[in-house]
Amino acid sequence: MDFEDTKEEAEYRASARAFLTTNAKPRTGKGMLYRAAHATEDVLAEARDWQKKKHAAGFAGITWPKEWGGQGLSAINQVIYDQEEAQFSVPRGIYEIGLGMCIPTVCTWGTQAQRDRYAVTALKGEEVWCQLFSEPAGGSDLAALRTSAVRDGDDWVINGQKIWTSGAHYCQYGVIVTRSDFDAPKHKGLTYFFLDMRSPGVEIRGIKQISGASHFNEVFFNNVRIPDSQRLGKVGDGWKVSLTTLMNERFTIGGRAGVDVDEFLELARGIELEDGPALKNPTVRDKIADWYVASRGLKYSHFRTMTALSRGDTPGPESSIGKLVTGPKLQNMSAMALDVLEQGGVITDPEVAPMAALFHQTLMTSPSARIAGGSDEIMRNIIAERVLGLPADVRVDKDVPFNKVPTGKAK
């Protein structure tokens, strides 16, 4: 039992580190990773430049097959690169959805000509992709989506609304799943496309989040025409194609860093409570121990996953617990951080609030960690069904024509 790289892994790690050292600045402080939450032109340009450098150096599309323009390496190489990159301040979050989810779907289901046209340009950072899946009526129950696709000559005409689309306002392309048959049961009437986001009739509106930021969008489709050549998979097979996209989501979402025990220790050391520093308070210490155990348990589970990847095995189900542990931990930790600040905990002014209001930001962003990419409830269902082998929920909408499925009033 050890944590050492194999010879090949060590060489790969050294090459990644050399590339990063030459081209990026080390990350300072233990705080949040540099994330492009506010995608200004400057941030986008910086991200584009970084992606181009990564591609030129052979660190983009690490696990993609060579015929897509990737490096054809294994998942362990990706993990090693990510570990190294996490120690540097580089732009993240712009290309993850496109390269992690959209392009693999295009390449799996599209033609060779489409792979040639889209994969490498995306890998070089020249085109950004978004994922148009969720709808007001289809979140956790994605297949309940209602955006319609009607065949018209060589085109399909799209009408409806998507929501929670990250980056739609700066993306050139998107993948979209639509309903082409309202008389079929819900999973059977779907069809999958990709489209140019500048197509006439596409309207994008930012959604203001509870944190005040606008990372997501609503995207409206008013008679948007998509050529049939941009259909991925057969008509009615949209659910099957969607699963290719979603299968990749876990890898994209997992491993996101945020505040953790080290940051809380820093806070608790500096705050005075009625009986001394917060760090000496038994209630506070009890919570710190809980978070540490969860955080380390996840870290070592990740080591187990890496071990499987390093041997070329499929990781065990332990890799599915990360999101369910991290989301609630972020939320509880930031809530406790404000508690130890007592009445002053309300202050969000970064000049006054400790650690530039890091915990206040986390308090207001952490609810999304428990919802995005599979809510806590959906993750528990997934573990119960796929890992423990418990039965799927009874579905009242199964085998019912979609237009006969009851809908409620709430959005």
Binding site: E9, L265, P282, D290, R296, Y300, F303, L388, P391
Partner: protein
């Protein structure tokens, strides 16, 4: 990255599972729980014959020389099957104490006998309800003899050899005592889990030998508690995993409202939470195993993390296992209570969650001291 047990040890684990499924069935556990015997002698003898009681003991001292990792693997299977034998007391405490603090002569005198299964060992720390801190220990070791009372002592009715925590002229010390001496009085004391019986031991001028140098007792005690915490965490993970499987199987077989109760989200989500806690505990125990096998400087923190995680996972799994079984889980006839008992006994056997959380944060403070 090679954060896993070797293929040889995985093979050992498979063999141990098959053996214990057969020889440490719930019927065997119940026989000890409901009967007068302190442990199952036949099972213990077979385990010794297979070399388990020498797993971590070096070959030159008659052991199997598998190291701490071999012991971890066996511990998980023993925890899973609730084996009613004095394995924890003998291997995680007595043998570990001898290996950590014993002189060459002491090791030679005792470890080969433990390895052969001839001697059962135990560790005597507690002196009644409440925490026996080094200051509060009243048992004394002066002029070469032990005097005092230890309560409860795990496997105290069966043990031949005890490592006794006692006051010496230079703070507390760990004292080796042969329990066959006439000055030792043993009395079975009723506990939550009679499948591993415990005792009140009184010492009246019982000769003993100090383990380690005078004045080194507190350090040795902490070290043994840390090592035992990690080994015990594997037992707890094994127990938690079994509870999860029992609950899952029952949830698939039991129908209510016209469907398996395992199709209700109230049950599914509960069991998903048990799964998550068990996986975290397993991963934390693995890290502990690494620290144990390398005598790593991270041992203290790794032990506290593994201990807290395992205490919580086994307790959660054991109580929710009863809950999923409903009224049947509350009956003596179902096996749920065997795990419920063991979970709570292990959770206090080597320091409670509360105590280890405090140790964990103290370690973090020193590791993370600013500047």
């Amino acid at each position: 990255m090679n954060f896993d047990f070797s293929d040889d040890l995985k093979l050992l684990k498979d063999e141990a599972r098959k053996f214990l499924d057969d020889k440490s069935s719930p019927e065997v556990v119940r026989r000890v729980l409901e009967g007068p015997d302190g442990y199952d002698k036949a099972l213990w003898n077979e385990m010794a014959a297979m070399g388990w009681t020498g797993a971590s003991i070096p070959e030159e001292l008659g052991g199997a020389g598998m190291g701490a990792l071999g012991l971890c693997v066996l511990a998980e299977e023993i925890g899973r099957s609730l084996a009613p034998v004095p394995f924890a007391s003998t291997m995680y405490f007595a043998a570990e104490a001898l290996m950590a603090g014993g002189s060459d002569a002491q090791k030679k005198a005792w470890l080969p006998k433990i390895a052969k299964g001839e001697f059962i060992g135990t560790f005597a720390l507690a002196e009644g309800p409440g925490k026996a801190t080094p200051k509060r220990v009243r048992t004394t070791f002066r002029n070469g003899v032990l005097n005092g009372e230890k309560l409860p002592v795990p496997d105290g009715t069966a043990a031949n050899l005890a490592v006794v925590v006692a006051q010496t002229d230079r703070g507390i010390g760990l004292v080796l005592a042969d329990l066959s001496h006439a000055g030792v009085k043993r009395e079975h004391v009723e506990t939550l889990d009679e499948s591993r019986k415990q005792a009140r031991l009184t010492f009246a001028n019982v000769p003993g030998e100090l383990l380690g140098a005078a004045g080194d007792g507190e350090r040795l005690l902490a070290l043994i508690e840390q090592r035992a915490a990690i080994l015990m965490a594997f037992e707890q993970v094994g127990g938690a995993q079994r509870c999860l499987e029992m609950a899952r199987d029952y949830a698939l077989e039991r129908y209510a409202f016209g469907r398996p109760i395992g199709s209700f989200q109230a049950i599914k989500h509960k069991l998903a939470d048990v799964y998550v806690a068990t996986e975290l505990a397993r991963s934390n125990a693995y890290y502990g195993a690494w620290a144990l096998s390398k005598n790593a400087p991270q041992l203290a923190l790794a032990a506290a993390t593994a201990r807290v995680s395992a205490n919580e996972a086994f307790w959660l799994a054991a109580k929710e296992n009863i809950q999923v079984h409903g009224g049947m889980g509350f009956t003596w006839a179902f096996d749920c209570h065997l795990y419920y008992r063991r979970a709570k006994v292990l959770a206090v056997a080597n320091g409670s969650t509360r105590l280890w959380k405090e140790r964990l944060v103290s370690e973090l403070e020193s590791a993370n001291a600013p500047g």
